[in-house]
Structure formats: C-alpha cells, structure tokens
C-alpha cells in the first residue's frame, strides 16, 4: 500500500534527529524524497509503463523524448505477442553496413542508445505499432498528501537514500555513509534482473 509523502518525510526527519524540521524544511525534504523515489525505481525497474507506439514507415531511429516521453529504460518491446531481442547497436553495423536502409516484414531487434535513442530494425514499409514496456519516470510528489509511486518493497531503500542526503546536508558524514551503505546493500540483496 503506497504511503503519502508526509508520513515518509516525518519518518526521515526523525531518523536525522530533526523531528520539527528546523534544519531541513519539509518542502526541501519533499523535493529530495521525490528524486530518491525516482532513482530507486530506475534501478529496481518495478514501476513499468507499457506504451503503444505508432511506427513510421521506413524509419528505424526514434528520439525517445518524442515517442516515449515518460520512459527511462526500455525493458521489453513487443510486436503483437512477440518480444524483440535487445542488441548492442554496433551489431547492426557488423551484420549489414547498410543497416539504415534495411527493410523487412517485421521488426527483428531493438537497441537503446543512451537515454535518448530507440532503434527498431529492420524498417517496416508500412505504418504499424509496437508496445514498449519501459521503466516509468514515477509521478512527481506535488505535496505531502501525494502518495508515493514506487512499490512498497522499495520504500526502505528510498528512506535510506533520503536519510543519507539529509545527514550529508547537516554534515553528519559517518551516519550519511552508513545510510548510503545500507541502501546499497539493500538494493544489492533485492536486485532484480
């Protein structure tokens, strides 16, 4: 069950011995909490967002900000019920020096370059659609009544990371490092493929 941001802010402030929010304004902690939950979800890939993308004939390269504006990392691409294998983009060059003009009756593979480019290879000659399942950029925490968007299992790691940031800000370096290590070990134990 998702928790509202205000509850987590109160918990984090108690952890850093500032329950009344005198060193850290609650609005600042809300901003830090928002960014921490986004980072943890990018890593654990728990909150996913399947989006149908209409493809353009003869086009292989798509700017993700245009077709998948809320996507962070593509986990799977499906054309119908078929998943496309993910390949490193240099593979396209080593298999066909003219890969940019290759055409086929269906997409065979996909690549993601950095945070921005999606390649669907080879191009289809007619418009079609694929479903891109990607890690979602979790919803912004607008105020303390907003519920968190990450799954409950990830909340301990979010709080540990937030605690590390708050301790660092108040120049408590050992507690900050301890909270960071706690978050890291929790994420390594929980690491999903």
């Amino acid at each position: 069950m998702a928790e509202v941001a205000g509850t987590l802010i109160t918990e984090a402030l108690r952890r850093v011995r500032d329950p009344r929010g005198e060193a850290h304004a609650r609005s600042d902690v809300l901003t830090f909490l928002d960014r921490c939950q986004k980072m943890i979800n990018v890593f654990t890939k728990q909150v996913l967002d399947p989006v149908t993308v209409t493809t353009t004939p003869m086009q292989q390269v798509y700017q993700m900000s245009d077709v998948l504006p809320d996507a962070v990392d593509i986990v799977d691409i499906k054309e119908g019920n078929r998943s496309l294998p993910r390949v490193p983009w240099p593979t396209l060059f080593y298999t066909d020096r003219e890969w940019t003009r290759a055409q086929g009756s269906r997409y065979e593979v996909f690549s993601q370059l950095g945070l921005d480019l999606l390649i669907l290879h080879p191009a289809e000659s007619i418009a079609g659609s694929i479903v891109a399942v990607s890690v979602k950029d979790t919803a912004d925490l607008a105020n303390e009544d907003t519920a968190t968007d990450v799954v409950d299992d990830d909340l301990p790691a979010v709080l540990d990371l937030l605690e590390a940031v708050l301790n660092l800000r108040q120049r408590e370096f050992t507690p900050s490092a301890d909270a960071m290590k706690r978050a890291a070990s929790r994420l390594l134990v929980d690491r999903r493929p």
Binding site: V42, W89, S111, L113
Partner: protein
C-alpha cells in the same frame, strides 16, 4: 525534465547557501560535459541539408561531444586513421568518389573529413518525416550519431548532478572549503549515478 536553474537551486539547498552561485553554474556545465563523455545523451543529426555536394570536411555543432557513427546515404562509414590513409595514397585528400571512411586525425576541432571526397549532391531534402533514415530520406546526405551536452535533464538526475557540483564547490580553495563534505558528496553522487546509469550500448 529539470532546467539548470532547478539543479542550481538544489545545490544551494544542499550547501546551505554557502556555495558561490557563479562557480556552481560553471561546475554544472562541467558535470554535464562529463556525463556526455560517457554517452548518456545521444542524438542523430543531419549535417548539411543545403542540397549541395557535401564538403569533404564536415563540421559539427559545438554541443557534440563523442562522434560514435558517421553515415553517408545508406552506408555507415568506418573510422580510419590518418597514417593508414597516408600509406594507401599520400594524395588521399584529393581522391573523389563515394565516401567509405571518415578521419578525425589531423582535422581541426569539431570537424572530420570524408574519404574519398563526395562528388554527388544529395537528392531533394523534402522528405516527409524529417528524421534521419525515414521514408524519402535522401541519398548522398551526411548524418552523425553522437553524444551531446544538454540544457535540461531527467528529474532523477537532479540529485546526483547537484551533489557532484557540491563536491567541486567544496573541494576548491575558498573561504568555505570543506574536503570531507566534498568527498562525502562525491561518493553519494557516484553511488546514485550507478543506480541510474544507462545500459551499455
């Protein structure tokens, strides 16, 4: 997406207003450049859409950081070294034909040379979708795949970037220098970047 001003505001919050705002702004640019060098931000760019024969020496925009691929028409060109081409033909710069390679050695910053030099102008650039390699995309055109610097970042990069700026700000000689704070901020930032780094390409 977060603009530079949002991240600099986070820096001020993390530094409890001890930071020098002008220096933080410069450090922001440095951090973005470092991330671009690691190929976090990618784009494909058409270099010349004038319709004339592409020049042998192509220059690319200032925000391009790493050149990862060069395409001429349908072909992805192979990188070549200056010395290799000199062995093949000392007058290699005068050769004309359809480019097969590109060379960065010996050229000025933000330029590369096509080998051999192109002789044919591209077909019309009135292609309907405006994306490299889309339907109607002309032959004999030059496109590059590259990493670049950005003015806006995804929200989840705000904290690690802000902490890297704090690291630089408190490392430098100043009236608020604090090496332990700087080191701790840097360690936390690098741990966060490991969480969100893009997969190997």
């Amino acid at each position: 997406m977060s603009a530079k001003a949002t991240i600099l505001s986070l820096v001020t919050t993390l530094a409890v207003s001890q930071n020098d705002v002008a220096m933080s702004s410069r450090f922001y640019d440095e951090v973005i450049l470092d991330l671009a060098k690691l190929n976090w931000f990618m784009r494909m760019t058409i270099l010349d859409s004038s319709g004339a024969v592409p020049a042998a020496v192509q220059s690319f925009p200032a925000n391009v950081v790493n050149l990862l691929g060069v395409f001429y028409g349908a072909h992805q060109l192979e990188p070549a070294k200056l010395r290799e081409l000199e062995y093949v033909n000392p007058q290699w710069r005068d050769e004309l034909g359809e480019p097969t390679n590109y060379v960065e050695d010996g050229e000025t910053v933000h330029t590369f040379r096509l080998y051999p030099a192109p002789i044919a102008p591209p077909t019309t650039f009135a292609f309907p979708f405006g994306e490299p390699f889309g339907r109607g995309y002309p032959d004999e055109a030059v496109v590059i795949l590259h990493s670049e610097t950005r003015v806006t970042l995804p929200d989840y990069l705000d904290l690690p970037v802000a902490l890297l700026i704090v690291e630089r700000e408190f490392q430098r000689e100043s009236d608020h220098q604090h090496p332990v704070f700087a080191k701790s901020a840097g360690e936390l930032a690098r741990m966060m970047l490991m969480l969100v780094q893009p997969r190997a390409m």
